[in-house]
Each structure stands twice: as C-alpha cells, then as structure tokens.
C-alpha cells in the first residue's frame, strides 16, 4: 500500500431541495442526505460504508463518481479535485473510477450485447480499435468467470449472478483504480453472494483496486473490508479498521447494528439490544446528535449539541459525546470470519476451491 490515498473525501455535503410551485419554484425545505462526510481510501484498500436504508450511503457513492453534484465539500481522486471538473475533463476522469450496481437486472442495457456493453468504456475513451476491444471483452469475460462466446448474447439470457459478473467486467474494462460497489451482492442469492465477494477480492489482489464497498449486510462487510465507516442519517458516526470496529464498537448505533446480526447460538439471543422507533426523516433531522431519539444512552447534552468525530484511538474516530463512559455491551459478533448462512457458504466455497486447485 502506498501512502498517497487514492480517494480523499472532505466535508462532503449533499442537500436535495424540496420545491413547490408551478412557475416560480420556491424551496420549501432541504433533505439533508449527506452531511459533512470525510474519509479516505488508500490504494488497494476496501472501505466499507454501512448503514440503514436511506442513510445516504448510496448518495455518497454517487457523489464520489459525480453522478450527482455535491452541494459542497471536496472529492479528490489521486490528488485531483473532481467536485468542480468541467464536463469533458470529468468524462476523461471516468475511466479511472467505476461503479458496480446493486440490481444486476437493471444495470445492463437490454438493447446491447454483452460484447458491446464491455467494449463501451473502451470505445467511449477511444482505447484500441474494434478488434482489440473485442479481444479485451473476451478476456474480461474470462477474468470474471464467464465464457468468451457469451459476448454475443444479450443480458436477458443470463442469470442474476452472471449478470453481476458482466457488471463487474464492465467496471474493470478500462483498468480503473477505484470501484464503488453499491450493494453489489444484496440482490443476489446467498450462494451467489459468496462467489461474487470472492471474485471481487481476487480482482482486488490481481489489479490493485481500491473499493468503496457500500452495504448493509455486516457479515459480507466483515469478510471483504479493511476499514468500516458507519453512517446514520447522512453523517458518519464511526470509522475504524474492521477488527476494532467489530471487536470494540464505541458508538451506540454501531453497537446496535452489530447486535442485530443474527447469531447461530441460541443462548445469545436474549441479550440483543433492539433499537426503538424508526429512522427520523432527513428532511427534519433531530437537533444535536442525530441518533439521540433512538439512543439508549441519550442525555440532555445529546439533543442540544452535535457531536463531532473524535479520535478514540489512532484511525478510530467516533461521533459521540460519551463514548469513553458508555458501558461496553456484551458483544457481539462472535469468533469466526463471518456469521450465519453466508459464512457457511463461504467456507464451503473456499474448501471446494482448495480441493480443485491444490496449493
């Protein structure tokens, strides 16, 4: 890992304006989807971004790729600011940053053959000629575990897992440095999830990719990530390397998330900390700490003053006023790499792979 980070996100903000009126549009409010988010990703590293639905994690991913324009803040890719790039420079930039989508049934253009889909990034960026692009397409299909002759088929002739492989191949086509994986496995069967996660890991080692891995499945995250950032209602509440976060989560929200992972041991079931209530609306986020409405440890100060991310240990930052004094919950994710069905599948998959390729 080199020292210069591939991606630096600094105080990123995205507000969606809610407007009313037919001719003179008046802004009647803001949905604060992403608020003051900062992190960085090193070369070859996987940063997982986790949180509930609607917490702004996908929006963050799209802001980084500038599929949406940020309200403020900076996104620097290999030191170059992309939040204010003009249209042409942005298009040239796109070959270095790619995205894998959640829904493999919606992310491939049904009117294009797989070969055309894979050649598209190369064609757009004028890399190679037709023949070399076709060859690259076949190579990519082999890399992701499909057959070269699949290039002539249309997306609807594939299963979900195969389509996701095609989506991954497309993301790889122009040799990017960073791939935003927007819940790449949550639409797939558990058995296929393990295959895709493994594929992503192999590709990372082979091509030195950096991933921003957006997910809500903590078992998958635990398997693939190096560091984990937890988001709640548009804000980062905790960021730490994987081991620290899973072993010693400091933010009450992270603790609740980890406690919600289903455990195979029935004896542990009763100790679960359940969060009460729903996620408040990002249209009118709570004052002070955004989590105070659901936090079991909330005090007066929490609703008055917004906590900032403070360093708990090197590389471990927490946005909570009281993390030093909170009781450490009886945790949590038990030994083992991951939990539940996913872990079983993963183990079986690894075993099968080891058996097939000795050494």
């Amino acid at each position: 890992m080199s020292d210069a980070p591939v991606l630096q996100v600094d105080r990123l903000v995205k507000h969606f304006a809610v407007t009313r009126g037919l001719i003179r549009r008046k802004v009647i409010g803001l949905v604060r989807a992403v608020e003051d988010v900062s992190f960085e990703i090193a070369r070859g590293e996987t940063l997982a971004l986790v949180g509930e639905s609607g917490c702004g994690k996908s929006t963050t991913g799209r802001l980084i790729l500038r599929l949406m324009d940020p309200t403020s803040g900076s996104v620097r890719f290999k030191g170059q600011e992309i939040a204010n790039l003009d249209k042409d420079s942005l298009r040239r930039m796109r070959r270095h940053m790619q995205i894998i989508f959640q829904d493999p049934y919606a992310s491939l253009n049904p009117r294009m053959t797989v070969g055309e889909i894979l050649a598209e990034p190369l064609r757009v960026h004028e890399i190679g000629d037709d023949a070399s692009r076709e060859a690259r397409g076949r190579e990519l299909l082999e890399i992701v575990g499909l057959l070269p002759e699949h290039a002539r088929r249309y997306p609807h002739q594939f299963s979900g897992g195969q389509r996701q492989r095609i989506g991954i191949a497309r993301a790889l086509a122009a040799n990017p440095d960073l791939i935003v994986c927007d819940e790449p496995v949550s639409a797939l069967d558990v058995s296929i999830q393990a295959q895709i996660v493994n594929l992503l890991q192999n590709l990372q080692q082979r091509f030195g990719l950096s991933y921003l891995f957006i997910a809500h499945d903590l078992a998958v995250v635990k398997h693939i990530s190096d560091r984990v950032a937890v988001m709640y209602l548009g804000k980062l509440v905790e960021i730490a390397d994987k081991k620290t976060l899973y072993d010693r989560p400091l933010h009450p929200y992270t603790q609740a998330l980890l406690a919600a992972i289903p455990k195979p041991d029935p004896a542990l079931r009763t100790k679960r900390v359940m969060l009460q209530g729903d996620v408040p609306s990002p249209f009118r986020p709570p004052t002070g700490c955004r989590f105070h409405t659901r936090c079991p440890h909330a005090q007066a100060r929490c609703s008055a003053e917004e906590p900032t991310l403070r360093e708990a240990a090197p590389g471990h930052r927490v946005a909570c006023h009281f993390f030093e004094t909170l009781p450490i919950p009886t945790i949590i994710a038990r030994a083992g790499l991951a939990n539940g069905k996913f872990a079983e599948r993963l183990a079986a998959f690894e075993a099968a792979k080891a058996a097939r390729v000795p050494g």
Binding site: L22, R62, L65, L67, R91, R92, R94, R95, M97, Q98, I99, F101, Q102, D103, A106, S107, L108, N109, P110, R111, M112, E120, P121, V124, H125, L147, P148, E149, R152, R153, Y154, Q157, G167, R170, A174
Partner: protein, 295 residues
C-alpha cells in the same frame, strides 16, 4: 476449449439470435385475429399503392347516363350521383386516407417522441415541454383542423397539420412516461459512469429502450387518426371535390341516403374495415412487444 467446439458454440448462438428476431412476427402470425387483420391491411395497402393499375375506371370520369346505379357486375360497388365508379373511388380514397393517417402518425409520432424523450432526459425542460403539450391537448383535433382550414384554405394539407397537432401531445406523454421509466434504471447511470455522451445516452440507452412502447401506441393511434381525418373530410375541411377521400365521399353520399344508400355506406364501410384492422393489429403488437406481457 477447442476451435471446433467454439465454432459450434458460435453457430448455435447465431441460430438463437435468428430465432429471437423471428419471434415477433412468428408470434403475431400465431394470433389468428392479428393475422387476419394484418392480411386485410396488407391487401388494402397494396390496393392503394397500385390503384392506377388495378382500378377498372377513371376515378374522375363522370358518366351521366349511369348515375346512382346500385352494385352490379359492371360496377361492383355501383356508381355515385355523377356516375363515377365507386369501387375505383374507394380505392383512390383509401390511398388518400391511408396517406393522411401515415403522415399524421409518422410526423406526429416523431415530434411527440422527441419532445417526450427530451422532457424525460432533461428534467429542467420537462415543465416547459409538458405545459406546451397540455396546451396542445386542450384543443380538439377537429377544432384545429377548422382553424388551419380557415387560415390556409381547406385541403389535404390542412388535415395533415391538424392530424399531426392531434398526435403530438398524446405521443409526447406516452414517450415521456416510458422514458422516465427507463431513466430510473441503473444502466442509464452505468452509461454515465462509463462516460457515454448525452447524445448517445439519449439514443442508444434511452430511445431504443422505449421505442417499442411508442410504436405500439402509434399503431393503436393509427386507426383513430384515420377516423379524425375522415371526420374532417366529412365536415368539408379535408380533400376538396373531385379528389376522392373516404370521409368526403361519405359526406357527399349523405344527400342521397334514401335514393342510393350505397354511395354513403360503402366508403363508410371501407373506413370501418381499415380502422378495425389497424386497431386489432395494434392490440396484437402490444401483446407481442410489451415485455411485461411476455412470459
């Protein structure tokens, strides 16, 4: 994998692709109603195309010795009040009527489709385009026809303009609806993430994915357009005598409805058959092309 096995694989793929392409027509042919409608429409279109060669008489030749004759062996559909052969005039009239319908559908469909797709792609244009469409929608086609005829004089041009104006707003709405659905799909974003230009996104990603919806709507719309065209002809805004046009022929025959009912009814029946066949075919196209109805 050996070369032979690969080649075999490719051959198989080509077969599958050919089968997939044949699918639409094949499925249409399996539907008996659609097949009949298609056959009838094909015969009508060919008759209209080759009118000068297949018609037995001159459509404008008046034979005052044989006025208002009922159908017989010499004049299959009889003659009108000036002794012109009605079969010949119906075939020529079909020519004009079909032409009106086609031009209305193609030009109106194109303009409406472009407006709808642009409205869906450029959201800031959406309000403006759709309000314009609403304005167009507020005027009945007949009224527009009357207005255009009043300004430029009655004739086929006035009808064509009225039909185009009548088609544009409906198509724009359908196209916009379909395009907004496609815009929500992740492959649009994927294209943008890859760096595909706006123009290509609009054509290869957006338009190609909603064109079948628009096409189905237009085939259904075709029958209505013809009907509106005929109605304008009936009101005297359309083709002017002696030009043969089905709606106008029905209008002229109205005066002799009791003496010679065939003069009005035969062109009306022709309109009926064309519109019915067009609608049935449109229905069948919808069933075949709509991905949601496919199993």
């Amino acid at each position: 994998m050996t070369v032979e096995a690969l080649e075999q694989g490719f051959a198989q793929e080509r077969e599958i692709a050919a089968f997939a392409r044949a699918g639409v027509l094949r499925r249409l042919a399996r539907d008996r109603v659609a097949a009949t409608a298609g056959l009838v429409l094909t015969v009508i279109v060919f008759a209209a195309l080759f009118a000068p060669w297949i018609t037995p008489y001159d459509p404008y030749f008046t034979d005052l010795t044989k006025v208002m004759q009922p159908p017989d062996a010499e004049h299959w559909f009889g003659t009108d009040n000036t002794g012109r052969d009605i079969l010949t005039r119906v075939i020529y009239g079909t020519r004009n009527t079909l032409m009106l319908g086609l031009v209305g559908v193609i030009v109106g469909g194109f303009i409406g489709g472009v407006l709808g797709i642009l409205a869906a792609y450029y959201r800031r244009l959406d309000g403006w385009i759709m309000r314009l469409v609403d304005v167009m929608l507020a005027f009945p086609a007949i009224l527009i026809g009357l207005a255009v005829a009043a300004i430029f004089g009655a004739g086929l041009t006035a009808v064509v303009i009225a039909l185009v104006v009548a088609t544009v707003p409906d198509v724009a709405r359908v196209a916009r609806g379909a395009a907004i659905g496609v815009m929500g799909q992740e492959f649009m974003e994927a294209g943008r993430a890859v760096g595909v230009s706006d123009g290509e996104l609009i054509w290869r990603y957006l338009t190609l994915n909603c064109i079948s919806t628009i096409f189905v709507f237009l085939t259904l719309r075709f029958g209505q357009i013809i009907l509106i065209g005929a109605a304008l002809g009936f009101l005297g805004m359309g083709a002017q005598p002696p030009t043969a046009e089905l709606g106008m022929m029905a209008a002229q025959g109205r005066d002799f409805l009791f003496m010679a009912p065939h003069i009005a009814t035969i062109p009306s029946c022709a309109i009926f058959v064309i519109v019915l066949a067009a609608n049935l075919l449109g229905d069948a196209f919808r069933d075949v092309l709509d991905p949601r109805l496919q199993t």
